[in-house]
Each structure stands twice: as C-alpha cells, then as structure tokens.
C-alpha cells in the first residue's frame, strides 16, 4: 500500500521565529495584541494553528451515501393544544438538494450532484485529498418540470443554508458518507445548530410542488427564495428587504418585484413562534406563491379571521391558502405551533363545516369548499371527489384570465363549465357549495345573491339598505350616456375594529366604453347624497381602482381635490375625509374590453370602525376626453 494512502489530515503550524520567542516570553499580554503567529487571533500564543488542506490530487474515488434531516411533527395535541412533538421526530430524506464534495477550506468544489427522492447521492473526488460533503438547501431543475428554490438566511445576506459534515481524507477507495441534519433540540432547548430547519422547509415545499406536478407534469416554477432564520421574530422591522434584523412580523409571502422577486419569510424564534416544522403554514404561504406565479390573486390582504365577512377576494385568497395546505399534505388538520418550548399554538380542520357566518365572504367556507371538491376516500364527508387537476386547470386558466375578481364565484362557475356534461359531478359541486349557505353559482360575477341573510347577505343595520348585492353592476349605459352613477358603500360589516377588507365597503361595477380614448373618471363625494348616518356629514375621501382582467389600469394621473377644484394633491390636505373629496383620473380605455371599477370611501376602510363613513354615496362619472 502506498504509504500516502489514508493520510491523516495534515496540520501545518505556520510559525515565525519571532512569534515563537514572543510566546515564550509571555507575549504582549491581554487582548489587542498582534497576530504574529498567523493563527487568526489577536495574540501570539499559537493556540489556533492554521490548517492547510490538501486540495490537489489525481484519479477518482466515489463517495456515496444518503442525506437526511430530522423532522419534528407539529401535532394537534388534544386538550393540551398543539405542540412540536420532539419525541416523535423522524429522519426524512433530503430530496432533490444540491450536494457538493468540497475542499474543506472552500477553495474548490470537486463535484456537485443532486440527491434523489431517497436522499441518495454519488460524487466523484480525487484520491488522497481532504474533502467535506456539503448539502445545500437549494433545489433546481431545468426543462420540464423546472424549478429554482433556495432556503436562505435573511439575517446573513440571504446566504443559502447548508449543512456540512466533518472533513476527511478521500483515500484511494470508495466510501459511504451518510449525513444527518439534526433539529438541535437537546430535550429542553435548541442547544445545537438547528440544521434541519431549512431542509424541513424545502422538503415541505417540494411536496407541494409534487402536488402541482401531479396535475401539470411539466410545470415551470418561477424562482423562489424562502427566508428563514432562528432570528426571525414577530416584531416590526425598520430595515428594508430582506429584514436583516429578523423582524419579519409573521410568516408571509410577497413578490417584492425587481431583483428581489418572490420571497417567503418564515418565523424561527425559539419560545416565540417557529414555523419550520409547521408544514401547513409553509404550504399556505407557498399557496400565495402559487397564486402569484401560476394563478392569480386579487386579494387586498388585511386582517382577517375565520368568522369575518370578508371582501370576496380576501376570503378566496386565504381560504385557498388554508385549503391548499390540506390538499398538498393530504392532511386537513392545520397546526400552528408557538410559545415556550414550542408547546402551544392553535389548530383547525379545513374539512370542518362549523364555521361562523358561512357564505361566500367567509374564508372558512371557501377553504372547506375547495378541500371538499378535492378530497376522497376515508374521511371524505361529501360527494365530490375531483382531485387537484380540475382545480388547477381552472385556477391557472379561466380564473386567471377572467374579468371578474378572484373569488369563489369564478372558481365554481368555470369548474362547472368544465364538467358541463357530467350531471353527477355538477350536482356534487352544487351540493358542496350549498352546504355553506351559498346558493347555486351560475356565473363568475356572483349574480343572484340576495339582500338578506337567507339570501346570502348579512342583515343590514341600515334599514332598507343593501350594500352587498348585487356584487357587480354593469354601468356601461351610464358611461356611454355620460350620466352619473351613485355608488353607496358602508362599514356596517366591520368586526373587531377591522373594516379595511370587510364586505359592503368596496362596491364593484363593470363597464365598457363606446370608443377607445382617454376618459376622465371622477368619483365625487362632495354631494355626498346620502351620508347615511355618518358622524360628519359631508366628509369624504373617495378612491377608485380600474382593472382589466385583474390587472390595474394605469391612470395618467390620480388626484384628490376639495370641491373647489383647487389642486392640493401634493400635500393632500384632505387625507382623511375632512371635507368633501373628489378623486379624478384620466385613463386610456379601449372599446370592446370589459373593465371593472372598484369604488370605495376611505372612511369606510380606515379600520377605525368608529367615525365617518358608514353609509356613504359617491357620484361616479365618465367623460370622454
């Protein structure tokens, strides 16, 4: 045997004669000394000898093995509530991750590969070199399917998380090197590296991607960065993206645009809120990525709870996220752990029909409708069993391209269209929808809704008023004729101090223009013809938004003015409806296109739920320029 085979790692003590003498003589004493022995500290005692690795070699040896991570399940927990069950932790394969054989000093990468779905890998390295195996929390594929997913540390320059084993000599024969990324839990706290966290997140997302690929095998997933750190806490950041201080607020998805792109942020603060093992949370947020990348979301966000009467766009977005977490994991129990020792939290079952205030405005209703349409087999409590492919088809095609805003209405309408020849399935879809007090859906606009509770609108506090239905009104005739449309909204359906995204405040209309041209659009609160109980009659701050197939239509300008018409938009002295407001915009509109316009009185969505607003009517006019 060659005496050089299986050499031990070689340590070279880089010493200078003068530094050795200084060490013997006691050095300069204390901190702030000079690193005269080049051991990367500030003294000369040679206690950290520099390591020189051998990174050059010839020939090849094969190193194979498996990479796994420790998955800690989030359990519902019965009467004691949810918790992370460290005692039930299991090893799972690190699937489809980039894996490298590197020289331990980082100077070279001998070989790069990808783990398979069992975590197995095989790499080739030179003989008789120092080597370490690094697994990166990064997975990418090109062609069909294609994806680009990285789990990064937003508190460290968005560095890709990785785990690395001990370095060793490659020798002259093959070797099996198995790696394990542990949770870091020592029985009472995270005493060690939380190495498994990034891989748990990546694996959960890969599971979600597989579900999409079950419906679209050649799916192309746009790049996504998932930002996780043990320092990610539920605090408010005063730093820009990517919140290097770790104050991310909550786990969330956002498309930051530009070079920042699509990002998910995941909480990681021990004893506060960790989400790396809360797979339903991760899939929920990834569901918003799916909406943004594959489907469409017109959600306006904002505070929401399961019993709220939400703007239909928010109800659908959040209901979809929750339903999707059950669909992707094939587990309807949504668990979010938090608290000291990760021994608290909450859970709910997306397949539970006991929601408060059921209806098309309720995210819990939406989530169960979607889940019921998907699920089948044991535990299925409904007669629909469509699997995911039909839902995916509607979400990524008809609902993505419709003029109507995203809600349960276009989803169901187009799904029924796709099953038009299947009477049994149509009946099953209608039955699922009806089980949440939503009458049969016949179009993407939600036509046919009533104005009292029995007909799917909550009771009106203002006697005789109906600010919810019809959900859309066609005002094309008024636009063509130059007449005024009076639009009334209310904040009556606010709850818990939240009114921003509750029904009734935002009124929707559709219209076409008779000629392609610039159109002056005015929403005027000065007449306020019907301040229906507001505390400060005459105070308004109107806003409107025009969209084409869900995309905002850029206005030449949007400004607010007082009734006098004096331009004060720069300083906006009428910010909160102190006095009557007018909002105008000149918009290039095209004949033949079907636009939507959303009109809202700001006082009805400012979340004060107390002053102003209430039932406010605004005058909407279109004038061809």
């Amino acid at each position: 045997m060659n005496p050089n085979n299986f050499r031990l790692r070689r340590f070279f003590y880089v010493l200078l004669a003068s530094s050795s003498l200084a060490a013997c003589g006691g050095g300069s004493g204390g901190g702030g000394g000079t690193d005269t022995d080049n051991d990367n500290d500030d003294d000369d005692d040679d206690e950290n000898p520099a390591i020189v690795y051998n990174c050059d070699g010839t020939g090849n040896v094969v190193i194979d093995g498996k990479a796994k991570y420790e998955f800690v399940p989030a359990v519902e927990g019965g009467a004691s509530g949810p918790y992370l069950d460290y005692d039930a932790a299991k090893l799972r394969p690190i699937r489809q991750a980039e894996i490298q054989a590197i020289c331990p000093d980082g100077s070279s990468v001998y070989d790069t590969g990808v783990t398979d779905d069992s975590g197995a890998y095989s790499l080739s390295v030179p003989e008789n070199v120092d080597v370490a195996i690094r697994v990166r929390a990064l997975t990418a594929a090109t062609g069909g399917p294609a994806w680009d997913l990285q789990i990064v540390d937003n508190t460290n320059g968005q560095a890709v998380w990785a785990v690395q084993g001990d370095d060793f000599d490659s020798g002259t024969g093959s070797a099996t090197v198995n790696l394990r990324a542990g949770s870091g839990w020592d029985g009472s706290s995270y005493a060690n590296d939380r190495a498994a966290g990034p891989f748990a997140i990546m694996d959960t997302i890969y599971t979600a991607m597989l579900k999409v690929m079950s419906a679209e095998p050649a799916a192309s997933f746009p790049a996504l960065m998932v930002n996780w750190s043990p320092e990610n806490l539920a605090c408010s950041s005063d730093q820009p993206f990517p919140f290097a201080d770790g104050c991310v607020g909550t786990s969330f998805f956002s498309n930051f645009g530009g070079s920042d792109g699509r990002n998910i942020f995941i909480l990681g603060g021990e004893d506060g809120d960790t989400d790396e093992y809360d797979d339903h949370i991760i899939v929920h947020e990834w569901g918003h990525y799916y909406e943004d990348a594959f489907a469409r979301s017109d959600s306006i966000g904002g505070q929401h709870t399961g019993g709220s009467r939400l703007d239909m766009r928010v109800a659908f977005g959040e209901g979809w996220g929750n339903a999707w977490s059950g669909i992707a994991t094939d587990d309807p129990v949504y668990v979010d752990t938090s608290g000291s020792g990760q021994a608290g939290g909450f859970s709910f079952n997306v397949d539970d029909e006991t929601e408060t205030n059921p209806g098309w405005w309720n995210e819990s209703s939406v989530q169960e409708i979607l889940y019921d349409l998907y699920d089948s087999g044991v535990g299925d409590d409904d007669i629909a069993a469509l699997d995911f492919a039909p839902l995916h088809a509607v979400l990524t095609d008809e609902q993505r391209n419709t003029a109507a805003a995203t809600s349960i209405f276009p989803l169901i309408h187009f799904l029924k269209q796709d099953f038009a020849a299947d009477v049994a399935t149509l009946a099953a879809i209608d039955a699922v929808v009806k089980s949440h007090d939503i009458s049969i859906i016949t179009d993407e606009w939600g036509a046919g809704r009533g104005n009292d509770e029995a007909d799917e609108a909550p009771p009106d506090a203002d006697a005789g008023a109906g600010y919810v239905s019809p959900i859309y009104t066609d005002i094309s005739a008024a636009v063509a004729g130059g007449t005024t449309t009076v639009v009334c909204g209310t904040n009556e359906y606010a709850d818990a101090g939240n009114e921003y995204n509750r029904i009734g405040a935002r009124r929707f209309m559709t219209f076409q223009v008779p000629a392609s041209d610039n159109w002056l659009v005015t929403l005027d609160g000065s007449a306020n013809n019907g301040n229906l109980g507001g505390t400060a009659p005459g105070n308004t701050d109107p806003d409107f938004f025009i969209a084409l197939n869900g995309e905002p239509v850029t206005a030449d300008f949007v400004q607010e003015e007082p009734a006098s018409g004096v331009d004060n938009s720069a300083a906006d002295p009428n910010p909160d409806g102190v006095g009557p407001g007018i909002e105008t915009a000149t918009v290039a509109l095209v004949a033949g296109e079907l636009y939507t316009i959303e009109a809202v009185e700001y006082l009805n969505v400012d979340d004060d739920n107390a002053t102003g607003g209430d039932g406010v009517c605004l005058d909407l006019t279109f004038v061809q320029q």
Binding site: V160, A162, T176, A181, T250, P470, V486, E492
Partner: protein
C-alpha cells in the same frame, strides 16, 4: 320586502338601495369572530400607491427646475423609502432625495418632497421612482414606475405596480453552513 333597484333615474344610475335609510345608524350587532385563525399572510401586496411630480415651470435644457414629488398611498404606511433613477440626460439635484426614508406617513397617507432637476436637453426624460413602503402591519410593498417629465409644468403621475423577477442563485462560499452529523464507511 326590501328591494335593491338598479335603474337609471333622471340621468343617474344607482348602485345603491332606492330607499334612503334612516339617518340614525343602528349599531351593527355582529358576532365576535370565533375562529382561532389569526392573520397569517398579507398575500400579494396590492394596495395602490400613486406618485405625482409637479414642476413649477417648464423644463429647459441646462436650467435647474424646481417642483415637488408626492406619494399617496391608499392605505396608511409606517415608512417609505424613495429612490429616484433619472434617465441619462436628466440630473436630479434634490438634496438627499436620491435615496430617502420618510417615517411617520401613516397619519395622512401622503408625503411631499422637494424636487430639483436639470435636463440635458428639451426632450422629455424619464424619471423612475422606486418605493419600498412598510405597511402598518410591518409588511413591505415595493413599487416602481417611470414618469416622463416633459417641457410643461404639469403633473406627472402614476399608480405604481410591481415589476421584475427573481435574483440569481447564491454562491457557495457565502453559504450559511451548519454542522451535520456524519457516518463514514470505507469500502
């Protein structure tokens, strides 16, 4: 029976109840939300932010022109970061405005800042405005749009929308590396 009537009446189309409700507003009795589901995601940032530029005088080549840039948000914001990217041939002279943070904008949803530009020629030039805004709930929205500044002292405005794609992948020597347990078997 309550009826909702949508009809054109005297040149006015109503998207409202025909019957005007009483002035006194009954208190809405809405049940407390009983679900334990908290707010988990802001979803896609979608709330409109508009930007206006109003110049005090027509722009002339080589001459400093003053005006103001204002940003209006449909929702209250905690802070704004504003970055101006002038097209070649347009010089922005505002002190410190090239990259500016404005805090405390939640009160009035709008901020105004002075603007000084010097165009290199009389031709219209684009001024790109990049905004990163922190909403009251701590989430961040990013918007970018270009305003074409012409030779008239008029208002130039846009509603800002998201643009762009994902950044490149990381570099190996920048990885955040943690220790893995390892088992080696020699063959």
């Amino acid at each position: 029976m309550r009826r909702l009537i949508i009809a054109a009446i005297s040149g006015t189309l109503l998207v409202a109840p025909l019957v005007q409700p009483a002035a006194a507003k009954p208190v809405a009795e809405l049940p407390e939300a009983t679900s334990a589901m908290p707010y988990r995601s802001p979803g896609k940032p979608s709330h409109p932010i508009s930007v206006d530029v109003v110049m005090d005088a027509p722009l002339k080549a080589g001459t400093e022109s003053t005006g103001r840039l204002s940003i209006h948000s449909a929702l209250p914001l905690r802070s704004l970061d504003v970055l101006l990217k002038p097209e070649a041939g347009l010089t922005v002279l505002s002190n410190g405005l090239m990259e500016k943070r404005v805090n405390g904008v939640a009160a009035n949803k709008a901020v105004t800042m002075p603007l000084k530009v010097t165009p290199g020629s009389d031709a219209a030039r684009e001024l790109r405005v990049v905004i990163r805004a922190v909403k009251e709930n701590g989430t961040v929205v990013t918007r970018e749009a270009g305003l074409l500044l012409g030779d008239e002292p008029k208002k130039h405005s846009k509603v800002l929308r998201e643009e762009g794609t994902q950044a490149a992948t990381g570099v190996q020597d920048q990885d955040a590396v943690m220790k893995a347990e390892q088992e080696i078997t020699r063959h």
